[in-house]
């Protein structure tokens, strides 16, 4: 009687110990995670690093020669750098969070008063000095304040940059803030790159050197970020500016990327990133490359169809918002409400059915359950 019992106990202990010497195969979930980080997120970080480097160069050129041509180039470079950053919001794991790149590069709102105080000061606005600023005095939104002017347009920007009193200081800030942003983007990319920070490989080193002890934890991280992004678009980028939590009175000051009128572009890039993670492919509508959607389809074709359809509807509704976005919000344009409704449906679906289909845990922590 003792031997079978001993055998069962031994087998149970082996199972319970989670012996990592036993190889874990590349099942569909691990393949999904590998696909998403290698084919979607890592390329976005590379494009971000390249774009930020181009922005640094364009900003330096603008600082040296503040004219319309260089301003246009710097503005285009700002948009081109921001786009992959917004798409990469679909999976903000690892260095971007752990090393606070998200805060350093994209704090909203920027503190114009404090930036102005620095510009009016006497400290040399070197890249190193600006890099040491608090998050609300640098990054994309801080740069945006000096590259764009929603009210006065490019003439107002050039006037500010060529102002006899503070123009040069402003140009120094623009050049140094862009250099700091480029340095952060390069460091973030390096943290992911194989052979350097290696996070792209560590993510799928389940139970080993990576951040995730189990396949489920890794899958949950991917799925959770899709949920968080849908909530972010719905609440922070649409709902609050529309005044949804404040009795319906629009609050245009809460519109992000208002100076560049990039709010709609930001949301479209966010949604493209979400789709890329879902499809496992950066090219929208391309061959389904084994993203989250492949797992959902295995569990429920109905839910998969719904997610895809709602992604498409949200993208179309957001794209239909008239520009400038801040004006559309203030005017309570019906297209803004339609975009909010479409994003709300998407958020409901990813927060309930997508989570349920994959047995994911919508977790923000490691709490026990039972």
């Amino acid at each position: 009687m003792r031997r079978p019992a001993a055998a069962i106990v031994a087998a149970a202990l082996i199972a319970g110990a989670g012996c990592t010497d036993i190889p874990i195969g590349d099942g569909p979930r691990k393949a999904m995670v590998r696909r998403v980080v290698n084919e979607v997120i890592l390329p976005e970080h590379r494009e971000l690093a390249a774009g930020a480097a181009a922005l640094r160069d364009a900003a330096a050129a603008l600082a040296a020669s503040p004219d319309a041509g260089h301003l246009d180039a710097a503005q285009d470079a700002w948009r081109a750098a921001r786009s992959p950053w917004m798409r990469a919001y679909a999976l903000r794991i690892g260095p971007v969070k752990d090393d606070l790149y998200a805060a350093r590069m994209d704090q909203f709102p920027p503190d114009l008063a404090r930036i102005t105080a620095e510009i009016a000061g006497t400290a040399a606005l070197t890249p190193e000095y600006v890099a040491a600023f608090g998050a609300n005095k640098k990054g994309f939104h801080a740069l945006e304040l000096f590259l764009f002017d929603a009210a006065g347009g490019d003439p107002a920007v050039l006037a500010s940059l060529t102002d006899p009193t503070l123009g040069e200081r402003r140009r120094q800030f623009v050049a140094s803030a862009a250099a700091a942003l480029a340095a952060d983007a390069a460091a973030l990319d390096a943290a992911w790159e194989p052979g350097r920070g290696d996070f792209v490989d560590r993510v799928v080193d389940i139970g080993g050197d990576g951040p995730y002890a189990t396949i489920k934890d890794a899958t949950d991280a991917v799925v959770n970020d899709s949920v968080f992004l849908a909530e972010l678009i719905l609440d922070a980028k649409l709902g609050r500016p529309m005044g949804k939590p404040t009795g319906g009175t629009p609050v245009p000051a809460l519109v992000q990327s208002a100076p560049s009128d990039g709010g709609v572009d930001d949301m479209l890039d966010n949604l493209r990133g979400l789709r890329a993670v879902y499809e496992g492919d950066r090219e929208p509508g391309g061959v389904d490359g084994g993203g989250v959607g492949a797992l959902v389809a295995r569990a429920s074709a109905t839910i998969d169809s719904r997610v895809r359809a709602e992604l498409t509807r949200a993208e179309a509704a957001v794209a239909a918002i008239p520009r400038p976005f801040a004006a559309a919000v203030e005017a309570q344009a019906p297209e803004v409400e339609a975009a909010w409704q479409a994003t709300r449906e998407l958020r409901f679906t990813v927060s309930t059915e997508l989570i349920a289909a994959l047995g994911a845990t919508l977790s923000f922590n490691e709490n026990d359950g039972d």
Partner: protein, 459 residues
């Protein structure tokens, strides 16, 4: 006296004699040590994971149990002190130092910590609270303890045995957990559709040895039935001496597997460590090859009146423990959907449910509306847990209403926009969006503002 009365008196008498008969105390000592150690680990774990800050300091609003709305987390470092005291009491219980006071302190403090917020309800926390309360009345500090050692040094008599009834009390409590865990699985989603295990097992292909098996089409159904049969019968197998030696390894295997599959914290280790109470009372001596205890001095019998009061209290306790988990049968509809009668019923890991809840506040005087994300008042974790539990949704609506009254809205109406997916089904509205929840009162009656459960089968 009728013909049956002597039999009944004989039965009661025999039961009474059996329950008060002196038995080897070593299994009870082992239980006390294991329980105290587990509670101490739980206290340390809570702090080490940062859950004290997350559960008690970060939230600005809490969800309350009925009758316990006055319970609030201590400010500042207070909850850290609370958990430190829980740990200290747990160690004292384990070693049997000032045992009864330590057990009472442990029960009160642990219960307090979990009464602060319904968000954090877990069946195994409930079990730990019940066991801690039981330990207050069980004489587990009389033998094999620091207290016993101190009494012996003072020359006071120290029993070498304990009566059998504490063993049966603990066995009964643990048996109820298993049996009702099995009862919770007697429903179509679990037995017919193998949900939620179908979804959960697919999410865990990396479990060593068995991960590959989980991908087999027959696996979810087989595991669902096996788990139900295990829960419903394991107490019996553990009680029967002939099956006990095979049953306990199965207990270990089952709980180790659940520990590997799910984030369920201390629960597997609690059950593994405490189910040896089903063994013979002298099992630790046999395992450790210690000498058997001499018949020696039995524990002093308590005064007759106290003994009767204790017996009556335990009978009442178990009557409640048997009946209370069944209250879900009094409510209409699918209890997985409505969750009325769900808590305190040992419904452990029986569903996959995710939801989203927002609130729409309307000022009837002006017609103005506010759409309030739940995260404006609660942490993401609280909002996520609230979204699937109607009693918490109702309380949330009242919190929002109270806040808007403070902001100057005379009679705010609060409606809830709640969508839920149950066991992989498409999402569906849980709450009637037309009902002003601020005007609804909580109570034991069925919630009239809940919408019908989804009719379609899970995938």
């Amino acid at each position: 006296m009728t013909a049956t009365e002597p039999d009944r008196a004989g039965l009661v008498g025999r039961a009474s004699r059996a329950l008060t008969a002196p038995v080897d105390a070593s299994s009870l000592i082992a239980f006390r040590i294991a329980f105290g150690a587990l509670m101490a680990i739980a206290a340390v774990r809570f702090s080490a994971h940062g859950w004290i800050a997350e559960h008690y300091l970060e939230p600005t609003h809490f969800f309350h149990y009925a009758g316990f709305g006055w319970v609030r987390p201590l400010p500042g470092a207070g909850m850290y002190v609370c958990f430190a005291l829980i740990g200290a009491c747990a160690v004292a219980v384990a070693i049997g130092f000032c045992y009864r006071a330590a057990a009472l302190g442990l029960a009160v403090l642990f219960a307090y910590a979990h009464l602060c917020d319904k968000t954090n309800y877990l069946n195994h926390y409930y079990l730990l609270i019940l066991l801690a309360l039981l330990l207050v009345v069980l004489p587990l500090g009389q033998v094999g303890s620091v207290d016993a050692w101190r009494r012996r040094r003072r020359g006071a008599p120290v029993p070498s045995t304990l009566p059998a009834w504490p063993i049966w009390v603990l066995r009964g409590q643990l048996a109820l957990v298993y049996v009702y865990g099995g009862v919770a699985k007697l429903q179509p989603d679990w037995l017919v559709h193998a949900q939620p295990l179908d979804t959960w097992l697919a999410a865990r292909p990396d479990v060593p040895l068995v991960g590959g098996l989980f991908a087999q089409p027959w696996a979810p159904q087989a595991v669902s039935w096996a788990a139900a049969i295990f829960d419903l019968t394991i107490a019996g197998w553990l009680l029967w001496p002939r099956s006990r030696r095979m049953a306990y390894p199965v207990v270990i295997a089952f709980h180790l597997l659940t520990a590997r599959l799910f984030h369920i914290g201390m629960f597997p280790w609690v059950m593994i460590a405490l189910t040896p109470i089903f063994f013979a009372p002298d099992w630790p001596r046999r395992v450790l090859r210690l000498r058997q205890v001499a018949p020696g001095s039995p524990p002093p019998a308590p005064p007759r009146r106290r003994a009767r009061l204790l017996a009556a209290a335990l009978v009442a306790y178990f009557a409640v423990q048997i009946l209370f988990p069944l209250r879900f049968l009094l409510y209409p509809g699918n209890h997985l959907w409505t969750e009325q009668g769900f808590r305190f019923a040992w419904k452990v890991m029986v569903m996959e449910k995710s939801g989203v809840a927002d609130f729409v506040v309307r000022d009837p005087d002006t017609g103005r509306e506010w759409r309030v994300p739940a995260t404006d008042y609660w942490t993401r974790y609280q909002a996520s847990m609230m979204a699937t539990q109607p009693d918490m949704i109702l309380e949330a609506a009242h919190v929002v209403a109270d806040d808007f009254r403070r902001r100057g809205v005379r009679a705010p109406e609060v409606r809830a926009d709640v969508l839920v997916s149950l066991n992989g089904r498409p999402r569906q509205r849980l709450v009637d969006p037309a009902v002003d929840l601020a005007a609804e009162r909580d109570g034991v009656a069925p919630y009239r503002w809940l919408l019908a459960a989804p009719e379609m089968d899970p995938p």
